[in-house]
């Protein structure tokens, strides 16, 4: 057993176990944390398969953004997860059927070469082994695909502008920190020295 195979089994085992824990954990916050563990292990598997770009993207996008967003949603919204889980037994048969269908589909995809060995020759543009796949994406991202890349950027800008336009309310009467006025404050404006005679009070 090579080192790579050892890593594969360790990562897969933790991946499957944490995936199970995502749906079994009682506390939804724990579920999200197991989901993050799941993502990290999947990224490790991608790394083993030589797809280091996908591994990095998985970490940055899913762990860095999506999972954190989930965490926010779970902690902010008052969802009664115990109530949501009540119907588990009732829906179990349906879930099992869907799971079996998915398993059969996966087996046909993976085991397709047993039926027709020609299917393995499908990849049209194989990545040459002398450059990494991050480098091969980098070679076209800012040259051949510059238009798509920049247009996607503008679409994201519109999405951001739209979110701000539709949700940002400038409320009157909210006390905000204004550093300029804080710095400009003088001693004379805020402190009054009073000579209090004893026994008199202010």
């Amino acid at each position: 057993m090579t080192v790579a195979a050892g890593f594969f089994y360790v990562l897969s085992a933790i991946l499957v176990a944490s995936a199970l824990m995502v749906i079994l954990a009682r506390n939804p916050v724990h579920s999200v944390l197991f989901l993050i563990l799941c993502f990290v292990n999947a990224a490790g598997l991608f790394l083993l398969a030589g797809a280091e770009f996908l591994a990095m993207i998985l970490l940055i996008v899913y762990v860095g953004a999506v999972a954190v967003l989930f965490l926010f949603v779970v902690m902010m919204l008052d969802v009664d997860f115990a109530k949501l889980k009540q119907g588990v037994l009732r829906y179990l048969p349906l879930g099992a059927v869907i799971g079996v269908i998915l398993l059969v589909e996966l087996l046909t995809v993976v085991g397709g070469y047993m039926i027709d060995p020609e299917l393995l020759k499908a990849p049209i543009a194989p990545i040459t082994s002398d450059i990494t796949n991050a480098e091969s994406i980098g070679r076209v991202m800012y040259t051949q695909f510059i238009l798509y890349f920049q247009l996607s950027g503008i679409i994201l800008l519109v999405a951001m502008v739209g979110a701000i336009v539709l949700t940002l309310h400038h409320k009157k009467g909210v006390r905000r920190q204004d550093i300029a006025t804080q710095v400009a404050r003088k001693r004379e404006d805020s402190i009054e020295i009073v000579d209090v005679e004893s026994g008199q009070g202010v």
Partner: protein
């Protein structure tokens, strides 16, 4: 490196996008009061004019940029100029709305500019990825614009409806694109066409892809049976935004539809012609019949625009040079008629509250004869009475259909055009013959400019045609080079 990018070809788009981003910065770092907002609108208007000017100065030969994914010719130039004119008028109409509502969100004209940039990319797209990105840039800006009047429940509802249905149509479009990519092995228009022509692609698979792509695009031009969102969105959005929805995006989506079907799917002409004919007949019929029962003039205009899209599709269904010329002419005239009509609708306000019932126009013929006569002429033009512009629009569309041997389509179109005359005439009847108190606020200057410009085109169309006919014929011919 820069030679292959050919940046100069995409100069109008670059200027528009960079200008919009600059305006965004100006807006963010200036105080939010109404006069500042008006300055930003004026700058946006100037930017649109500059962009039109740059398009005019570009050469008329075909060229591609960004490694073949961006295409310009006389065809794209003509459509871009028209949609920019529509955008400019819509920005002008929005100025009035901002003044009246004391609207301080400077993003309104910026989003219109970004939507216009998306439309220009749609028109110039030369592969499926650029098509989709342009379409999303346009749609996303439009979703936000629909809901921009966020304190208004109806506008919010309109924005949400538009977003959900628009996302659905984008999904269908993407599914179609993925099928086409799977069966032809490429996303470039010309490569798709050559793959289909060489017989390498599975024909049934390609037909499936075409159906999904056309369904997605039919959503965007609101052709029946994919029109459900139109009346609600038109009714709920503020009037200048509705005018924008009804004008420029339709021009861009029509150009996109023409380019995808005539370039990428040219070898499958018979397959998509059936779909286009069905869409045309269904839209014309729905537009003619469903508008009769409407009491809200914005909903009426929504059904009218559905019907008009049907008439424009007749030109595309003909699949010849005359058909493309008819399509271009129709969409140009439609845009001017719609903008004129919406300028009148926006002028219907009492104590700064806009009215949208058709019955609110009663008595207009007596107290404001000038407005009433111009609106009457626009309605006559929509019916297609010579020598107004609408007559020529329908004439050339049907002429192309007859030329291509599509006699039943032309006959159905003429009959449905007569049926649709009823509701246009009803608006005129309400204005001149119904008793009513018409004491609306005086029409704002910005609306007067839009109304004057569009009625000038409609009334003096014969002269207008003499001026632009050569260019339009060139544009239609560019599609067949």
């Amino acid at each position: 490196m820069f030679e292959t990018l050919n940046l100069a070809i995409a100069l109008p788009e670059l200027i528009l996008i960079l200008g919009a981003i600059a305006l965004l910065m100006v807006g963010v770092f200036s105080n939010s009061n109404v006069t500042k907002m008006l300055h930003i609108s004026a700058m946006a208007l100037a930017l649109v004019v500059v962009t039109i000017f740059i398009i005019f100065t570009q050469g008329s030969e075909e060229a591609t940029a960004f490694f073949g994914s961006f295409y310009v010719s006389d065809f794209t130039k003509a459509f871009k100029i028209i949609l920019l004119i529509g955008t400019g008028f819509a920005i002008l109409m929005a100025i009035e709305f901002k003044k009246r509502e004391n609207f301080t969100q400077f993003e309104l004209p910026v989003l219109m500019l970004l939507a216009a940039a998306g439309m220009m990319v749609m028109v110039s797209a030369n592969d499926m990825a650029t098509l989709y990105l342009g379409l999303e840039l346009q749609s996303l800006s439009l979703y936000v614009l629909a809901a921009i009047h966020r304190d208004n429940v109806k506008a919010t509802e309109a924005g949400l409806k538009y977003f959900v249905l628009g996302a659905l149509s984008s999904g269908m479009l993407l599914y179609g694109i993925s099928l086409i990519y799977g069966f032809t092995g490429s996303i470039g228009y010309s490569q798709i066409a050559s793959s289909i022509a060489s017989g390498n692609a599975n024909e049934i698979g390609v037909i499936f892809g075409i159906v999904f792509i056309l369904a997605g695009l039919a959503f965007k031009i609101s052709a029946a049976p994919f029109h459900m969102w139109t009346p609600d969105v038109y009714e709920g959005s503020p009037t200048p935004i509705t005018a924008f929805f009804a004008s420029a995006p339709k021009v861009a989506a029509m150009a996109l539809l023409a380019r995808v079907s005539m370039e990428a799917f040219a070898p499958m002409g018979d397959a998509w012609q059936q779909i286009i004919i069905f869409l045309a007949v269904a839209s014309m019929a729905l537009g003619a019949v469903a508008a009769i029962a409407q009491s809200d003039i914005k909903r009426l205009m929504a059904y009218s625009s559905i019907g008009n899209m049907g008439f424009a599709l007749v030109g595309l269904a003909a699949q010849n040079e005359k058909g493309i010329y008819g399509l271009l002419l129709y969409i140009t005239i439609y845009m001017f008629m719609t903008l004129g009509a919406f300028a009148c609708i926006q002028a219907m306000q009492k104590d700064k509250v806009s009215l949208t019932k058709i019955s609110d126009l009663a008595g207009c013929g007596k107290s404001n004869p000038f407005l009433a006569i111009l609106l009457t002429l626009i309605m006559f033009s929509m019916i297609g009475i010579p020598p107004l512009a609408g007559f020529f629009a329908k004439f050339y569309a049907f002429l192309a259909a007859v030329d291509a041997g599509l006699y039943p389509l032309a006959i159905i179109g003429v009959v449905l055009s007569v049926i649709s005359a009823y509701y246009y005439l009803r608006v005129i009847k309400v204005m001149f013959f119904d008793e009513g108190e018409y004491d609306h606020d005086p029409m704002a200057g910005e609306l007067k400019i839009v109304l004057a410009a569009s009625s000038a085109v409609i009334i003096l169309f014969v002269l207008f045609k003499l001026a632009v006919d050569d260019f339009m014929l060139q544009a239609a011919a560019a599609m067949f080079n």
